[in-house]
Symmetry: D3
Subunit: 291 residues, 6 copies
């Protein structure tokens, strides 16, 4: 993390997520932050997630005893945070799309750390332009995110998966862990997506079915039970356990052809114990190792 | 939540628990807050629960995917908080009793949000005067609450179920989830109540046995494990999970003749993540839908 | 605050700022909240200010020993919060403008509680359409808010007074307390506004000069020293004392023809002691009494 | 603070306020805590003050450069906290009175750490029984505390000085720093007490006048400006500075015949920086040295 | 907890862990605090654990419904905290060793409350000098703590079990719950300790095997899942549940010949809900009752 | 702060204090963090100061209206944090000394951000070796820091200025703002340093006297009143105002031959409002501009 110049002065380089310090040209995966939370209707703060995760990742080991592998062995570059215009939804999404497209075009995997869930839309759009109608979306979340609009707004954290499903086409989105939404959202899901209520059951079959397809994987961390992950804008009781989620992400990232990825909705300031940030960091480590 | 007067000025009406906005006359259930915590011996703060729950309930959906029903379909009026004289235990309990009695007399169900557990005594008294010796009490809690007195005081959060049991008569109180108390309290329970230690086992049988009886249901949220519900004055490790509790309250409220109800001991300021308040709100939604 | 229906059930009415409970038709002043903070670039949270101020105002007395007058004697209606689309800057400003215009048209004074400082733009626009080129703006703040754009955005908390000054015309904005900004902003001010650095000196003369004009008064509470008012997104050391500010607002509101007013940038969650919210409430009380 | 038994095992004695470790029999001043806050209508938590002050006092020096004297030279015994029945106002006051009476009877000065302001009533009663009609009361506070009742209650933090003034007789209470109250309270004060608004002006003359009288001194720390002392239930902006208060208490305690004393309304949990507790500790040190 | 002198003045004795108030000479177990956290590399604060546990233990009952026994029946003396020189690792460990040795020599069991994990080294050394090569160590933790050095330092929270294992000799340390460490640490463990990954499986067999041996038991509370125990310097998701840990410690303490014991790494300030401190207190009660 | 590689991927460089982004070779001033707080006896946390200041500095403007100058015009390199072995006092000080020596030797000014006050010793030693007996020390602080030892330790935050004074020789240390210490420390100061009690009076004369000398300036931010700066380990009421301190540091840095500098004892976690960090950042900006 630091270098010594010829005068002997120690000079620290950029703070990066632990062991994600490859030069961008050599990397297979480009990690970047999308610190945007302007449409959060309840409690903002997810904009601070990427930087908090970088900082606290240094309390983590790079070695995973679960996968018996080390993040040091992977080629990951943490590109830092995008500078996004708060309060300007469309401009922010365009910047995200540009970054994801540049990464895709260089033959690397874009891995975005939100921010609120809406950021997924920008990154998915870049992948869709590259991978087209074969692209599938795996969505783990507590909430359906399938509203048509919220307070008259079409692009919002509560509508993002609806917009994504409309982009990709019917039955190309696979939703897991969903335990909250309006009745109409669940009804819409019946026709347009494949929705698994409450937990991660059915994931194995979905992984079987999606082999060979290019897949974007979006993980809203509030799928986790609030006991494990209270640091999020809209905690929703009755979620999945840490062990269940870890097993699932290793399966998804390890067995499928993931072409884009994100992890969203950590609001570190809402959990001053740091346990939520630690959970986010560890899940991220396991995903990066599995990819 | 808001109306526009003829001059075009928007004017907001009272903040109520989500979807509990029926006029009091049309309601089947009257929700009201009892913001009293004067006898809390360790950490006060439950007085702030009803208002916190109203505010955070708006991050909740009205639809329950668990029961496939919507709170909008129920006739609930949130009557707001009683104004209670802090530090004047008996006067406060009298005010609570009056409100509960007025609700009962109008043929509605009183549903009280505490405050500390002592508030149950006032509401139960009103129900007892109306329903008499048939009345039964289901009590879910981490603590026995069966002391005869605390620091020489007869009416306190630590003695409230003892007082209730004495009012209703022997073996009319069914206790669940109990994992803390003095040895004498457990011994007293053996003779005078039906106490289930540690978890909710035996609830099914109890529900069978109580069919047909008028039942008051008091839920001390600290029955939940502190991982799920740290925002309470006296967290007691080793509690029930959110899923277990949710299943239990749906059963109790859905299958029995509930004539009064309360939910107590959320201290929102002790859990700044908001996860405890979210858990309380969701349990309340499920109870209201099931009733 | 509460009424009793004919069945004896107590029912609480809306939570309003203390003693601001006149019906809207009878009011001289319409208080309303504008819970918008989407362009906050550093730390959001001012969206929670209006509701926090209502709640904590009940710890305040209605009587001011400073002015020897009582808020009970004033005709103020607290209309509650507008419902604003977060992340949609222009739509939010339009809604604010509509409300302020309706209040102005009814011959009342709009008094807005922010939210971030950008909300001023919407309300000022309504006043400008009604009062035209005579309208003057008094602006107390720690920051110039005179940037031309921020991250490429024209409407933002950092550009709002620039936009206001452009609307009203040169030298119609009077700025006080300013102790932070870019060099270019101070230079722009020299030509286009009347800017008083660091403190409130010169206010007396300004009040003399503005007698007779319709005046809009916008108060960014971060003009206060952070020792008094830490609960704000961008605390700026070296500010004015509470006593200085109180004296100033009584003078401005008491001696000028105020046609619109706002108080912005309290972020209550950033000061968990409640002292910042208390300061905001008391300043608001003194302003309302003086108006 | 610790001793070693003959087996070499280190054994810690009670945590006491720094340098207040004289045996009770040898002491001139008996410090004791009155952890009672049951009538707090806004935010409780002052019950935790005495223990927090003991703990944090160890970050203080015993030497005062202001008075060039050392607390080690004084004979003070910290007797710890009384065990008070929460929610039982009268019983709690009786216990406080008993302790203060025992201390007075032993020829020592009772010095009580609250708790809420109501605790003063119990201690003053003990002094009044001993010193009779000559007893005077100096009261420094932000609030009048002169209501006749609050929510129908006669003994409360908001009525306590009214009750005290009624006990001692007209014009025997001297109030300073008062900046909040109902109009009626200020009017009542005109007839029955000597009230100095806003600051500590007039204190010198009062000290002159009271020479020779037995005086009880009650200090509500919220007289301090909330910038210095945010950790209190009802922060009231516009208060006195730390330096002003320190000078005043040294004068009062150093020049008058103080027969009883208290310091109330620190709520340490409301100021997590610890600065409020530090201010309370330092004021207490200066008072004890001056006595 | 308090006594009344002959003048009737109530005087409080030392704050001790609930029901651990036997005189040191009569005690079978000597509890003492080791408030040291100077080598904590991520977030300090465990130095405050012993005092926080004493204070919050008074919200606990002395009776355990799990073991149907009461802490009042045990002979435990809480000797308070050692005074340790912060920033002086070796001097601090020497003081800890002296205290543990004095307790051992008196035929009692030393039970230490950390502080960070390094404190174990001092206490174990004392036991090793008394019990020699037969001594075994049971270590429950999330982390291996088997590094050879950290930032060039040999004695640190991250190296402590390595140092302990080197002291006792190969294969005398039994590790459980381990889910974090460097690859080399896991490899070192294969040769030198008996390490059980992730959970407490294998504990029954270990207890069988160790019957008859003198055993030191060190419990790093971060073995618990962060949902149960967020108040620790380095939360590590995926840990054991409270019920599992409680069952394990009862087995270990109840069935083995425990000659020394500790419980470390609670950082109470990191979990402001108090749930972590409550969990630590309850585990400690169960251990003391089982011993 | 970010660059775009030839593939169009945005890559963020290191987070630095605002406008301190010159390459180390071109810089006149080398800023570096010394995140060490192992000897803190009361509340640790100053190790987090440098990183918190970097992050929050971006809410600050680079332009100072006080000095009408811009930090962009200065040549400052933020070299990041040293990696210091926590709990190893002497090794940490050696590392600090090495860095300061390398900076001095390159003809630049070392400017260190603590950490606790002990870090000053390492940097001063480097300057002393370079500038010898002419070196003078200006010390602004609330505390004397002149103990001979603390808990038997010679190198500690409470002894650091004693050690510095012994190194430089008698009467070469000028202390200001001092309002806390043991009687013996004030006595020692009378013979060996020049100590100004309570405030900054006498600073002008000191600056006159020290013209021409090489001067090291150490600023313990707890000299500020806790109302302005609660975020510090040992808040000491009765301190200097922000305006007074700002004026003083501009004078010292602007008029003297400063050869080394530090700013210590911000503990950002203790002031969650961020106001303390903001004060530290602004003081630092003014110092850097004045140098």
């Amino acid at each position: 993390m630091s270098e010594i110049n010829e005068q002997g002065i120690i000079n620290q380089s950029a703070l990066k997520f632990i062991a994600c310090e490859k030069p961008v040209e050599e990397a297979d995966i480009c990690l970047f932050g999308a610190p945007f939370d302007s449409t959060a209707s309840f409690r903002p703060g997810s904009r601070f997630a990427p930087q908090a995760m970088r900082q606290d990742s240094w309390a983590l080991e790079t070695y995973s005893p679960y996968q018996d592998d080390d993040l040091e062995n992977k080629k990951v570059c943490d590109c830092g945070d995008l500078e996004l215009p708060l309060g300007e939804t469309e401009a922010a999404l365009a910047k995200i799309k540009d970054q994801a497209a540049a990464v895709c075009d260089a033959g690397k995997i874009p891995f975005m750390i939100g921010g609120e869930h809406l950021v997924t839309y920008g990154a998915l759009e870049a992948c869709y332009e590259k991978f087209g109608v074969n692209l599938r979306l795996i969505h783990i979340d507590a909430h359906t995110d399938l509203r048509d609009e919220l307070f008259g707004v079409k692009l919002s954290h509560a509508t993002v998966i609806r917009r994504c499903a409309e982009m990709l086409g019917d039955k190309k989105v696979y939703q897991f862990g969903i335990r909250s939404g309006e009745k109409q959202e669940f009804e819409w899901a019946e026709e347009h997506t494949t929705l698994h209520k409450f937990d991660l059951e059915g994931l194995e079959k979905t992984v079987e079915r999606l082999r060979g397809y290019p897949v974007y994987f979006t993980l809203d961390l509030d799928a986790l039970d609030p006991s494990v992950f209270p640091g999020t804008g809209t905690p929703e009781p009755g979620g999945v356990s840490y062990a269940e989620l870890q097993k699932a992400v290793i399966k998804i990232c390890g067995e499928l052809n993931i072409v884009g990825c994100d992890i969203v909705e950590l609001a570190p300031g809402l959990d001053q114990s740091g346990a939520s940030t630690a959970a986010a960091c560890k899940i991220l480590r396991e995903m990066l190792i599995a990819l």
